[in-house]
Symmetry: C2
Subunit: 216 residues, 2 copies
């Protein structure tokens, strides 16, 4: 039941809360970017490209960032001027380019981190089990957005062909990663694993069904 005045849905209030957290993350991004000598948007691109040696197309980058394609072109050009990325012509399609991070780009990215971020301060207000729950909820939310085609497939365990959810009886480390051939726990689930390899749609659906139902 709602209090009589000012009624809102819980979805609305969650959105308000997320938006406050997003705001401090933007401040974090400015600080990190400043240390790296670039801008927040450019930093996002470098983060996206890190660990993707083969590079990404301009359109893909735009979709990942949630901006228009010309905006992505802009920022890629700015990064190129600074020597942080390089564009290669695609072999198969001569219209396309493949944007990849350079050594200089990786150095800039490294220069960015360090210093306690505000987002970390916020997360530290949560108990360990809450952090774990939050991570799992975020994975569920992100997966929903993927299913709805609102965002591209991320490099999360749940869409990876190496992921075997709840493969072990051990409650602390129920999952198995076939890439490293090791058991791991809920709190170790990856959002952006560079060893990720997207599984086929059918496999993804099956994996998700097991993951979602959990261990019971």
């Amino acid at each position: 039941m709602e209090t009589p005045k000012n009624p809102t849905s819980i979805q609305h209030r969650i959105r308000e809360g997320l938006s406050r957290v997003a705001m401090v993350m933007r401040v974090d991004d400015w600080n990190r970017a400043k240390r790296a000598g670039i801008n927040p948007t450019q930093l996002s691109i470098l983060e996206l490209l890190e660990g993707r040696g083969d590079g990404l197309g301009v359109k893909e980058i735009a979709f990942h960032l949630g901006v228009s394609q010309p905006t992505a072109t802009d920022s890629i050009a700015a990064l190129e001027r600074k020597g942080c990325v390089e564009k290669r012509q695609t072999e198969t399609d001569r219209r396309g380019v493949s944007v990849a991070i350079t050594t200089a780009g990786l150095t800039a990215l490294r220069a960015g981190d360090g210093e306690e971020s505000l987002a970390n301060q916020a997360t530290e207000a949560l108990a360990a089990h809450e952090q774990e729950d939050l991570l799992v909820m975020l994975i569920k939310m992100i997966r929903q957005l993927q299913v709805n085609d609102a965002i591209p497939i991320q490099r999360m365990c749940t869409s990876c062909r190496f992921f075997a959810p709840f493969a072990h009886a051990d409650a602390a480390q129920p999952h198995h990663c076939k890439f490293v051939d090791a058991a791991f726990g809920q709190r170790d689930l990856r959002i952006d694993c560079r060893d990720h390899e997207t599984a086929d749609a059918a496999i993804r659906a099956a994996t998700w069904a097991v993951f979602e139902n959990g261990r019971d």
Copy 2:
């Protein structure tokens, strides 16, 4: 235990997840703003001013938005040109101004909503009890940021003088709002209540202690 390769902290991965969600919220904001005939930053300002009849100063607005004061001046001027806000001179301090939303501003704000947002789609991937947990976690995170002076006090129940946490035995509606004199549940906690009145620091601390420990 981490998988051997690519080790990261759970804080880091939560940040990655939040940043993905923040990205789709930015897309939502563009869509809403476009419907309202303004820009995302301007929309944030209107949302901030809604329900604050007395208005806010330029510096306060900048702090709430996490931008510099001249940037806030810029966007306020843009809103003023469109007739969405008006500046009044402060009575007590003739240096200061008080920015308040106008009827036209409220109309624009209303024009913005409608349409299912991507953020809502994401939230709907969660079960009702998960949504409630998420809301409470966000409150804890935001409160931590306030305590650290990273963001201003929000209009959350937990800092409100009308809020009496866990005042009732009823597990479904343990809290009490002295403003409307009614019981309400965890899932009804407000992030941005327009009836909020900030309690004294000592009261806030006591209220928080009760809220945080929960019903046990």
